[in-house]
């Protein structure tokens, strides 16, 4: 398999196909009219794993489909939960200021049978820890990612397993926005491929103040040089043009109570 395994991959009987994307290692084969998939992550192996089959400690998963497929499709998709993007260097945005930043987040791999569109498995290319966004009483489970929140991506190393998400932050409040973390709702974004890189359509976040929900607007605007024909994967969730939701604030004061 090529270095970038995206697209259709043909599987001949019992011959193992191997791919590595980010920290993820995948082995694929067909056997007895079933698709067999094994996977593992770099930190689970001592040294580089063999390409002709997974190490003994990793077990195969098996999928049977009426089409008895000899081909699978490997597609990059967004993580299945929103991401709490943690800025490596805290950034303060003055009142009334509008800035464009880029967050690069690791993609997930979706393996499916193209003929029947039977989705076999989805795997993260980099293991992300999970985090809680909200209060102890209500909130949502998200992934935790660290980003440099760059203003320009032209000098950044290319990585075949990350998607660049343009984010426009507009501080409409009359106070400074201390931009340390924010919730990026990737399930509402589309993914495009351009020049070997993955790109998301623009998300606009309008901040109204600490105690108010922020407006999240999927502007659908694409970075320069990319058009809709380069669409790779659609959003996981139905796109509403905008939603008002908690984006910056988290309430954990009471979980930090040291008296108990």
């Amino acid at each position: 398999m090529s270095e970038q395994p995206w697209g259709n991959v043909s599987l001949t009987d019992q011959k193992v196909q191997y791919a590595t994307i980010g920290d993820l290692h995948i082995w694929l084969k067909t056997q007895n009219e079933e698709v067999w998939i094994a996977h593992g992550y770099t930190d689970e192996f001592k040294g580089r794993p063999k390409t002709d089959g997974p190490p003994e400690e990793i077990t195969w998963g098996r999928w049977a489909d009426k089409s008895a497929a000899e081909e699978v499709n490997i597609l990059p998709v967004y993580p299945d939960k929103p991401l709490i993007v943690h800025s490596e260097y805290p950034l303060k945005v003055n009142a009334g200021t509008k800035i464009q930043i880029y967050s690069r987040i690791p993609v997930w791999v979706r393996i499916s049978i193209p003929e029947s569109e039977y989705q076999l498995i989805e795997l993260p290319t980099v293991k992300l820890s999970r985090t809680w966004f909200g209060s102890p009483i209500e909130g949502e489970l998200c992934y935790h990612a660290t980003t440099k929140a760059r203003r320009d991506l032209s000098l950044v190393d290319k990585k075949p397993y990350v998607v660049s998400c343009p984010i426009l932050i507009h501080n409409k409040s009359d106070t400074e926005l201390d931009f340390e973390h924010f919730c990026l709702r990737v399930e509402r974004l589309s993914m495009y491929q351009h020049d070997g890189d993955f790109w998301a359509d623009e998300t606009q976040i309008v901040y109204h103040g600490e105690d108010l929900n922020s407006d999240i607007i999927m502007t659908g605007k694409l970075p320069e040089g990319i058009d809709k024909s380069k669409l790779l994967s659609k959003p996981r969730k139905q796109i509403h043009k905008s939603l008002a939701t908690r984006t910056f604030k988290r309430i954990f004061q009471d979980t930090m109570d040291w008296r108990v």
């Binding site: 820890s129 966004f133 009483i137 209500e138 909130g139 935790h144 954990f252 979980t255």
Partner: protein, 291 residues
Amino acid sequence: MEFFQNSIFNIYNYISEEHLQLMLKLVVIVAITLPLLLILRGWARRFFTKKYAPHYGMLAGKIVFYTGIILMIITIMGQLGISLAPLLAGAGIVGVALGFASQTSVSNIISGLFLIAEGPFKVDDIINVGGTIGIVMSIDVLSVKLRTFDNMFVRIPNETIIKTQVTNLTRFPIRRFNAKVSVAYKEDIEKVREILLDVAEKNEHSLSEPEPQIIFEAFGTSSIDLDFRIWAPVDEWIFLKNTIQEDIKKRFDQEGIEIPFPHVSFYTGSESKPLPIELVKGSDQFNKKAN
């Protein structure tokens, strides 16, 4: 024919035609209504379970079923010519008599209504009532049914639940696990702290936020006692509890961090010097060994 009409097999000798028709009517009413109610109850239960939660499915099923039963009884009474007005008038006196006779049952019924209105737990929640922990199977008129984790059926009267402290373990979406970690006095607490945070970060069930905390609990008799607090989604709490302690043990072994067992030091002088042992010449034991 005449013989048959006069024989003991003629039902009309025992019951009039009108009464027979009435009985048939009642049988038809019951035969149609009961299956219909069961079907409607099943439908309401499935619909509300799918749309909302099993708890609301159970409530909707009960409302449909009991309302139907009451309507059926009223219809049957109407057919039998029993008027509701005198019954209602007599209900006060009968109510007092019944109240005395069935105090416990009535108390349970009323407690059940309070439980449903207050909603301290729902079907499928995990609760602890007086030390009994189980999954709520149903909240009924008289009692709450639990299934314990060793697969036993527990029936708790509603009145008991109203009077007792009930802990709902799954009410909120995240839950904290407090691991008691003890390390030897010689260990560097800063290093221990770093290791514990790293263990939490690598555990697949722990959450990055709320952040794990390490509280210096006490100078124990044999160890420094730490309280390591880690959060997990409520349905993964048991997995966190099971894995994080194993992770801590493995990691401490790798890093050479001592988990002390209770021990006593003999203090013999100005500092914790080794205990001096004096061999006394002339004693039997000494002489034997020397030989």
